[in-house]
Subunit: 438 residues, 2 copies
């Protein structure tokens, strides 16, 4: 469940709320630059946005986590090295091309870092690079370097909104979440709409704070916060090669209460993670699955993930069809394949609070069917409509509400529990991804 | 690769070919009955087909494999018991409702077996039940029992075609494959279009032979044949609760060459498995992935499955978009999550014979892009067109060709190899499954 229960009547209302969350923590500036270029692999003009986030001074207090995909992008390879550096002073992010397994990818990333550092008067190893977009293409290094001065000139300590907008690709809207802690704040932004099942890290997420928390404590906190937020979501079961979450402290204000800081950080991560699902490619229903009574938390998480990644169940949800047989199929598929000894005889399943399965059998009748349909309709973010030009596209650019399809699975097999978040599988997803690059 | 390289210009040509394959092996009869009923869980009239396959005499020589889903259907529970019986004399199959986790499901299945046995003059335990369709609803036992005499009356030793047509649900066309061995033959039929990633068994498949092969040898052969056929396919990564493959020998002719029999059985299974993929829900491209150079065959199969189950890659194929970045993402996701120590530095990837990745980097240029697009278009089964009524439906009822999108992954890490088959992810799949039950 999100910490908020927001509804937005239109895009303007959503933008106004985002603006109210967007003040940068003390000690940071952000700016962007946009330009056109032509990829070498598929020559056709494209647009790229550079996003630059800089701290007033390089700071030792930073943390970052990265994808576990075995083909990590060049920026992830460079980013892992940066974790051993004494300090960080800037993050440079581009969209459109992810710089993954491209020839000379690491050299290109380092060259961009070096030029960013020169313009900011810091060391090249104090710049963390990030890229997102098409996998396999080469970055247009010369064009990026030519645009960097424009990004530096745009740096402002005013708002994180330009950065939240700059990092997106197929996202419908920018995502910003903040929490106040003592004299300071934690502010995070996220990009991510497809290829989303993070594994120990996530998409592109940048979290800034002006509260002084030492590096090692910050890194431990980030690990725990990611585990209960980004690592509990999946839009399409695909794990990006570029997943990155970075947390940087400017240390402008003392942090008197680490527990309060970690609670706030965790909430910012959870809210951003749910925002990412809510704004997932083609997502028209967020599906929130709580698994409890499991032998342990990992079992609960794995089973929840199996449910939110089951294509037939996701399609049924898209159609407001309470086809709970497909839900039980997904549970049985996972348990049969991975833990066949688990006793499922006491399993209870509920959707929207309605008991649908108990003691090894379904509990269905026409009245329950109506209640389930009403629950599904109530959680729908927008209605799908056949498009005139053959391409399904969401009719909204804002999140109208934060309601989910609520599923509860009680295994009655222990104390382990986990909540996971996914989306349905829709025509809008297929339209987005059957012709993404053209 | 199928054993044939068939093309069909239209449905009539396909039907004529099926008829040429459909002669029943000696010693078997098949018949069907159709009727209307109203499900209790969602009252709205529906149609069901009963399919009855009977051997002239009960035979001890039969084999069957079932789903590993932890919520198996009642017919699977009963079928497992039948494996211990001395002989089998009939198979009774219904579509529309799968009898999975329905109250009194096993009792209902046994009641239908008993009535079938009474009409055929055999023992109840000599009848193998099978059901496919909606999960969670109760079978209309009275209506089924009332229709059984019609199925018995329809029994004929002429053709397996009525049975091949009777067992389907969302399939576009019936599936029959045969092989001649010595004086006899092996003939198989298959149902299966969605919820298809069999695990040690498959969908509904019935294979009949008039060659005498003793039960234990038959069972060993079936296990090996299933392992290299049905267990290498996935349409949507969902594992049905009803998967069943049964093989029955009437023993009418001696089998002089077990090796030839097993080779023919394996080919029938492979061809049916590919037919199931080719006729998968919404499948517009069959994707054939060969993984070689793996540490062992299981590793090769698991990696191949990860590729054919990766939604973003499947969407790209649907759009004839050679987005090979998503292919490499899928490999990296699987290896990163399940065997992070595997050395991928020598991996070579080819699509349609074109090298796209080697030595840790993509090998792409605009000319290759064109060749890849041509390969994808050549493997397309039909073109998708925006529908007038908002529901995408295949414009064909026959398989126009047997070509696939050919992907080859060489890990250069050993001698393990496996070929797997999957389909793309299309609007037709979403239309089929977002409102399947209504």
């Amino acid at each position: 469940m999100p910490s908020t229960n927001l509804t937005f009547a239109n895009q303007d209302a959503h933008r106004a709320w985002l603006a109210s969350q967007a003040a940068l923590p003390a000690g940071f500036r952000a700016g962007t630059a946009r330009f056109e270029f032509t990829p070498r692999e598929a020559p056709k003009p494209a647009r790229m946005t550079l996003t630059l986030i800089a701290s007033d001074e390089p700071t030792p207090d930073f943390a970052a986590m990265f994808t576990r995909n075995a083909f990590p992008g060049a920026p992830v390879i460079v980013g892992r090295k940066r974790l051993g550096e004494p300090a960080i002073g800037a993050i440079i992010i581009n969209n459109k091309i992810s710089n993954v397994c491209a020839p000379d990818g690491v050299e290109t990333a380092e060259r961009i870092c070096a030029e960013t550092a020169r313009l900011l008067g810091i060391a090249p190893a104090q710049v963390l690079p990030s890229s997102t977009g098409v996998i396999g293409w080469r970055l247009p290094a010369d064009a990026i370097i030519a645009a960097l001065p424009q990004a530096v000139a745009a740096l402002s300590n005013d708002s994180i909104m330009p950065a939240a907008e700059g990092i997106v690709t197929t996202d419908l809207y920018p995502k910003i979440r903040r929490a106040a802690v003592g004299k300071g704040s934690i502010v995070g932004i996220a990009k991510g709409a497809g290829m989303i099942e993070p594994n120990m890290a996530t998409m592109l997420v940048y979290i800034l704070t002006d509260l002084a928390v030492p590096r090692e404590i910050l890194r431990d906190m980030l690990k725990r916060a990611v585990d209960v937020s980004f690592n509990t979501i999946s839009i399409d079961s695909d794990t990006s090669t570029s997943d990155t979450v970075a947390l940087v402290s400017s240390g402008k204000f003392p942090c008197d209460d680490y527990a309060a800081f970690e609670a706030a950080l965790t909430q910012v991560c959870r809210d951003l993670a749910e925002d990412v699902v809510r704004n997932g490619e083609g997502v028209r229903h967020v599906i929130a699955v709580t698994v409890k009574g499991a032998p342990d938390r990992e079992t609960a998480r794995a089973l929840g993930k199996a449910i939110i990644n089951a294509p037939l169940f996701k399609c049924a949800v898209a159609g407001n069809d309470p086809n709970v047989g497909r839900l039980v199929q997904a549970i049985g598929k996972h348990v049969g394949a991975h833990m066949p000894a688990l006793d499922l005889s006491r399993l209870i399943a509920r959707m929207g609070g309605v008991e649908i399965f108990a003691n090894g059998a379904f509990r269905l009748d026409p009245e329950k069917e109506k209640a389930l349909v009403a629950h599904l309709r109530g959680a729908e973010l927008y209605a799908s409509a056949p498009p005139k030009d053959g391409v399904f596209a969401p009719p909204i650019q804002f999140p109208p509400h934060e309601r989910s399809v609520e599923i509860e699975i009680d295994l009655a097999n222990g104390q382990g529990a986990c909540a996971v978040f996914g989306g349905d599988l829709t025509h809008e997803y297929v339209s987005e991804n059957a012709d993404y690059r053209s």
